[in-house]
Assembly symmetry: D2
Homo-oligomer: 153 residues x 4
């Protein structure tokens, strides 16, 4: 691959960041011989799960506590394919948009350093009754570092 490797993290907006590893499963490939495009969104979810864990909570606990974070927007730009058995890195950054809204940015890094894809998801914080509910203070604080940087890539 002649594409120049570049630092996935530097291209992401500031804020808390985590790095997760996934190895591409056979189930994730399609007959084009590469990873099927919808599966990147599954990896994004792994990324934000891990990021929340590094911030001192888990999404599992949030849900047990009655708070869910349904996705309200999701997008991905695909730059280079990923293949079976590749060991990928998911670089995830989180950002508080408001007390009841959070966004995550993602980069999928291949073993050769190429950024295969970049994505973004936006989430509403919702209580069990379906109404908006503020994120827990510690999580809001941890995610708020980058609020002054503008909301969008």
């Amino acid at each position: 691959m002649s594409e120049p490797a570049f630092d996935a993290e530097s291209a992401l907006p500031p804020g808390p960041v985590s790095r997760s590893r996934v190895r591409v499963r056979y189930a994730e490939t399609d007959q084009m011989g590469v990873v099927y495009y919808a599966n990147y969104f599954v990896w994004f979810e792994i990324g934000r799960t891990d990021l929340l864990r590094t911030l001192g909570g888990t999404y599992r606990e949030l849900e047990a506590d009655g708070l869910t974070l349904p996705v309200i927007e999701a997008s991905c730009e695909y730059a280079a394919p990923c293949r079976y058995d590749d060991e990928l890195t998911i670089v995830t950054r989180g950002r508080l948009l408001s007390p009841i809204r959070v966004a995550f940015s993602y980069a999928i890094e291949r073993p050769d350093g190429v950024v295969a894809a970049r994505g973004r998801t936006e989430h509403a914080a919702i209580a069990r009754d379906g109404r908006p509910r503020r994120l827990p203070p510690l999580l809001r604080e941890a995610l708020a570092g980058s609020r002054a940087d503008g909301e969008r890539r």
Copy 2:
């Protein structure tokens, strides 16, 4: 394909039967160019959902009524591959094993008449509290026709 087409239904045990259609999704293929093996179990679930519907209930209603049918055993034999965009028929037969246990048999039929796979799942009827609960009488009756035929293929 030189394999002789044969009647999928005749190879299934007696009992109520339904036929469902699915068209193979690109997402369901893998890099071997055929359908990934785990996806047949997703089709089986479509088959049993449709069979229950023809028997006058829906699985959705069963769950709303507090009864679930978790899988306790599942198996599949793969005879011939399925490919992207193939229009397949799922032939499903249900059988009551006991008031709290039910089994389904499946055949996946390709457009050329070849049976691509056969499978079987066994389910326990469980209440919300995790304890066994008898299936509703109407469903038990509908599924009981074949009880004398022996439990296994």
Copy 3:
């Protein structure tokens, strides 16, 4: 659901359109009790497969002919949840962006008329050797109707 139903088609850009039906699979739900967000992209692929079929070709034939349409961008906005066993309509519109680039817009319509989600994918036309290749003339023509309408939603 108090949300007013509105016409999914009118909100899509002009161009050839198709309507596909899918019934939500149990496999497509998650523990939140609704469809997992990545699965909408699988439905989008069903939509564009069907749209190409109505335009007189199939994606299967395109690939057999050495042309692939890898996704280079994908996005989705989620407005309302979809649930197990719902019968959904995928409304798909296609648009030629250039002889080697095509975009599709999607709306997922629930049985109650609510538009659960809207999405968009953009695709490059690529030959087997990985180089750009013009779409077949008939397909270009069929998709070109809306070129003057501006490229983006």
Copy 4:
């Protein structure tokens, strides 16, 4: 969980063994709040991929070399549910059934030591032209240790 934990490995037939770790993804759950049954077969594939790696080859290399191992039979018995974010261990054992046939046995171990499921897959060794082809000698040797133990669980 009152179920006694027992050693998953001791219940598997002898032969080379590997242990893989997976963390349950949100995408893998369904509306019952537990892992959807078909996903266990995806984990099995991770297990056998890892086992082959420990035996000194990779499935990726086998395929690059023109040999595929399509599944011809697959089964799973489900004993206890797995939940989102659980860290599971996949214990995999491989066994040569003949120079052109191999079987793998699997146990899915939960963090609390409970064996959630046991499974088995059987595979044919097939060349690119679709005809049977002997497994590479080194792999045959590594998998042959348990041939005298009887072919089935």
